[in-house]
Amino acid sequence: MKRSRIIGMSALALMLAAGVAHAEGKLSIYHWFEYMPQELLDKFAKEYDVEVTMDTFDSNEALLASLKAGKMGSYDVAIPGDYMVEIMTGEGMLDTFEPSELSNFGNIAPQWVDVPFDRGRKHSIPYQWGSTSFAVNRDVYKGDINTLAIIFEPPEALRGKINVLDSQGEVLALASMYLGIPQCTSDRNQLRALNDLLQNAKPHWASFGSDIAKDVLVSGDAAAGMIWNGFAAKAREEGANIEYAFPKEGFVVWMDNVVLLKDAPNRDNALKFMNFLLEPENVAAVTNYAQYTAGVTGVEPYLEAAVTDAPELNPPADQKGEFIQACPQEVQTVYDKIWTDLKK
């Protein structure tokens, strides 16, 4: 009697579990922190009857480390930055899709289709893009700020009041631009000059921090700080009298992308989600939330004025940014050494 009841219950539980799996699909997202409005996820879940779960990471490297440590096969899509798409492709972590599998593929802005990190968009679609440079408190310093010297050879007024992103890639790329040397250079004299520049700049820096980049500018702990453009716009809206710089030596341009992961348990839903994010109205909701820029045409009618008018999102036409490159192993080893020596 007792045994038959247990069997009956188990069968019921199994049927229920199977029933759930059939009735609605699932989608598992691995994403940056504070980068996706919950309403948008709810909208997708409702429209396609899909149960959505999302985990977050705080750096491209953390994403890679976590997937390498055995999380492959548990997520359907992830949102890595440009150079990390290239690295993940090289590691064989990404699945491919045909443009015909996404009905909204044609919505991708022309300049973002054939990108250097994913030629012809076989693994990824654009999510948001923006720039990385720095912002300066105009109460403290009134001179010209459109030069990377503000960070690497700062004027007297800013010394000891600078926050730098705790991110090797962005710091070394900006330092290379300031010196006018190519990224990932293997020239020994150039690498030595890069090392010297950073060693001499460090005494003028107050702190290293990425997640604090906005707060230190708002609170006044830092009078200048490396920061992403959307984050700078938020800092300005929170009352800091800061100006975001587009330095003449160059600045970093980045793009976050939705990638289709290999061994995705719900490949169909992943593609539905990617297609959903190519819909101008939906991706505009992300832009309004995160204050970066979408890589899709036709978003303008859905954008809030605060976003379209923000000076941080409108670089001067004659200034060009550069993507961060993924360095080959022998250069990366030297970069690691420079970075460790800088922070020892």
């Binding site: 890679l64 480390a65 290293f208 702990d221």
Partner: protein, 307 residues
């Protein structure tokens, strides 16, 4: 249950005789799964070859330990010299942890003494007060500390308004701030074990010492300290070990300008370096150092026991 109470010791022994090894099995499983296995994995990983951008290749290599101890220049082809980088990072962490432990002891001992010598209900109240701040998450407490001591924070504003200082004291992003953070984070770990030791102290000993013309200082040094020493040592270990691996306080209050042991290891797994064997090796070296200190302490204790 009732039978168990009525039984005398010998029959209890016979009930469980032969089950001893079985009964201890869960303990062994827990120790094996949560302690031995992870440490063994770390040990193995530290001797493997690093894979570019994280991960390991299953080939034996001493490269991780070589990187820790030998400096071969920026490009890795100069004759090896002693590598000071990691020694400096370890030394900085050890020094910070040692100072934090000392400060905790300096404040914690009198505090524990004060609490232990109160009468019944007051004692509980004081203990309760000590633990209240620790119901709040460590991250939030560390950030609050940052708000308090920043240049335009309440502490500086108040001192300025009171006319004590002519201009704000710069505290944030200094070693002082890190010390303050560590001290604040781990103080109760010092107070509680010392309190437990002092509470058991028989004050008749103090009276006896006074009868024998020992001054206050002599009584403290020759009678009290030796008796409460186990509590002090337990407190010091409880403060020193977590301070050694701390990176919240150095990151948030010290500005993350310099690596601590904790952040150095984190960088190997989550940062650009992606050097898992080196991270494992650094962790193993740290573990060995802590074990040496604890072994030293254990041997001291055993020697005293014999005497």
């Amino acid at each position: 249950m009732v039978a168990g109470i009525e039984n005398n010791n010998s029959s209890n022994t016979s009930t469980y005789a032969g089950l001893g090894s079985l009964l201890i099995l869960p303990t062994w499983l827990v120790i094996g799964f949560f302690l031995v296995l992870p440490v063994l994995m770390m040990l193995v990983y530290s001797f493997l070859t690093k894979e570019f951008r994280g991960g390991v290749i299953w080939e034996f290599s001493l490269a991780a330990y070589d990187q820790f101890f030998f400096d071969r220049g920026l490009f890795g082809d100069e004759p090896p010299k002693i590598e000071w980088t990691y020694i400096i990072i370890f030394w900085r962490s050890i020094w910070l942890a040692a100072v934090a432990t000392f400060l905790c002891l300096l404040v914690g001992f009198p505090t524990a003494w004060f609490i232990a010598t109160r009468s019944g209900p007051n004692k509980s109240l004081w203990l309760f007060l000590i633990t209240i701040p620790y119901w709040v998450n460590l991250l939030i407490r560390t950030i609050s500390m940052k708000f308090l001591i920043r240049d335009t924070g309440p502490l500086n504003e108040w001192l300025l308004a009171a006319g004590v200082i002519p201009e704000p004291i710069h505290m944030i992003n200094t070693n002082f701030a890190v010390q303050l953070g560590l001290f604040y984070s781990y103080l109760p770990f010092m107070v509680l074990p010392i309190y437990a030791a002092v509470e058991r102290y028989n004050f008749a000993y103090s009276e006896a010492a006074a009868d024998l013309y020992a001054g206050r200082w002599a009584t403290l040094r020759k009678i009290i300290l030796p008796i409460v020493k186990p509590g002090i040592i337990a407190g010091c270990i409880l403060v020193f070990v977590p301070s050694l691996g701390a990176f919240l306080a150095p990151d948030l209050l010290g500005g993350a300008k310099n690596f601590m042991i904790g952040s150095l290891i984190e960088e190997q797994f989550k940062g650009n370096a992606g050097n898992w064997p080196f991270g494992a090796a650094a962790a193993m070296i740290l573990l060995s150092m802590v074990l040496i200190v604890l072994t030293f302490y254990a041997r001291q204790q055993m020697k005293q026991g014999k005497r």
